[in-house]
């Protein structure tokens, strides 16, 4: 596994326009319907947003890990970090919006030097569900992060963490050597302060995404298996498991192409298209803010540099009413969110 991002390696798939070009051609020229065609067949085009419920803020692409399937292409060499000034603009919006969920992501959001200040300020806004997407290993990465479990607890943060499998072999293969053992240590520390324990209000959820060119299976069955194995092998507890489909962008797209799995994977996604998932697809109730304050329909569109289709495209001139009157931007990667039981940052959607 490379220890550098696609961007640092000057890989073609680090460029959004190259990814979109690739997703427009090949199998989508003759064999498969584009996502737009598929939505039109279901009378769902153009896709329109519903009421905003989730504000997802990306605090930067810097990360202590370089995961094989990262759609952000995050890593230690990524220097894009949200400034305090942009955070202040976000706070203004957080105080005004009626969205019930605030979702901080990255990279490793904790690596942003203003992370703790931002969490302290944002937690005052009284948002119902305040999520931090923590990669777990950050808690073990450096002594300045060791108190994160207590910090999360103090601000009643809902912790959501990636865990591709309950075995070391599969987890390390996807997320890097040593990640599994560090993640287990971090999970134990979170459990120790009350996170993830039965009946605890300190929410700890895990995210499962497949470690290869296949779709996730039934979320409830996976959750049952994960709980059984993590309790039996490590006495680790968590609340829910979110099964997320890998979308064909960035590093995962690069992997699909290099391993000659791209065509089969796209056929699988299109074959698994579920019209019911379109109703609840996350871009209809979510807005994604990038490290530099621009607005996107979702985190994936952010990585493909597809800003929202509105005159207002930046957090500095945010106007929820005007933004809600837009068509959601789509492309072939959107098939990832409508396959099977559907996929979102909160797991299945049907």
């Amino acid at each position: 596994m490379s220890k550098k991002s696609l961007k640092a390696r000057e890989n073609l798939m680090a460029k959004a326009n190259e990814q979109l070009k690739f997703l427009s051609n090949g199998v989508f020229e003759d064999d498969l319907p584009t996502f737009k065609t598929k939505l039109s067949e279901e009378n769902q085009f153009p896709l329109k947003p519903n009421k905003l419920e989730i504000l997802q803020i990306n605090l930067g692409y810097m990360c202590n890990q370089v995961c094989a399937h990262c759609h952000v292409d995050a890593g230690p060499d990524r220097k894009e970090i949200m400034t305090k000034s942009t955070m202040k603009s976000c706070l203004k919006v957080i105080q005004e919006t009626e969205a019930h969920t605030l979702d901080l992501t990255g990279g490793a959001p904790e690596m942003n030097p203003h992370f703790r200040w931002f969490v302290e300020e944002a937690s005052k806004a009284g948002i119902k569900d305040f999520i931090v997407r923590s990669n777990l290993t950050i808690i073990e990465a450096n002594k300045r992060y060791k108190d994160l479990p207590d910090f999360f607890k103090k601000h009643k943060v809902h912790v959501v963490s990636s865990m591709p499998h309950w075995t070391e072999d599969k987890t390390d293969h996807q997320r890097g050597k040593g990640v599994f053992n560090k993640s287990i240590k971090a999970l134990k520390k979170l459990n120790e302060v009350g996170y993830g324990m039965p009946n605890s209000s300190l929410k700890l959820d895990l995210v499962y995404n497949p470690s290869g060119a296949f779709l996730p299976t039934n979320q409830e069955v996976m959750q049952r298996d994960f709980k059984e194995k993590l309790i039996a092998n490590f006495d680790i507890h968590f609340h829910q498991l979110f099964a997320i489909t890998n979308l064909p962008i960035s590093r995962f797209l690069d992997y699909l192409i290099a391993s000659e799995n791209y065509e089969d994977y796209m056929f699988s996604l299109v074959e698994a298209f579920n019209p019911a998932a379109v109703i609840n697809v996350m871009c209809r109730n979510t807005l994604s803010v990038s490290w530099d304050g621009f607005l996107y329909d979702c985190d994936f569109n952010q990585m493909l540099e597809m800003k929202i289709d509105s005159k207002i495209q930046h957090i500095n001139n945010y106007n929820e009413t005007k933004i809600q009157d837009r068509a959601i931007k789509i492309h072939q990667h959107c098939y990832g969110c409508t396959a099977g039981a559907g996929s979102s940052c909160q797991g299945n959607i049907t």
Binding site: T167, F214, M222, D225
Partner: protein, 110 residues
């Protein structure tokens, strides 16, 4: 014969129904019902299917149930044990016929 067992042919499996709708649909209904969670879990059925796929040496089935196993979080060690179970059954079914050979040998030998 180079166009036999092309990977993409598996995508057309559902099309067998086009040339015999009733039988095709009955087969697919039966097939999907069998693989639902029942007294056996979907996981257990997937491993049985993988073992059988090797016993009947069906390349499509091997592809399909390796992928199915991965989707279900089945480990490579579990998959290999399942394949060995099938292989042992095949070897056993073969070797148990040695009793016939031994019986015949003894009968024919003076």
């Amino acid at each position: 014969m180079a166009d036999y067992y092309e990977q993409k042919d598996l995508r057309n499996f559902g099309k067998i129904t086009e040339w015999s709708e009733e039988l095709g649909e009955k087969f697919f209904d039966y097939y999907s019902k069998v693989f639902e969670e029942g007294k056996l879990t979907g996981r257990e059925k997937s491993l049985i299917a993988l073992a059988v796929a090797h016993v009947v040496k069906c390349p499509y089935c091997i592809d399909a149930y390796t992928k199915d196993g991965l989707q279900r979080g089945i480990t490579k060690e579990e998959m290999m044990e399942a394949v060995h179970t099938g292989a042992a059954m095949e070897a056993g079914a073969n070797l148990v016929h040695a009793t016939q050979m031994m019986k015949k040998y003894k009968k024919l030998s003076h």
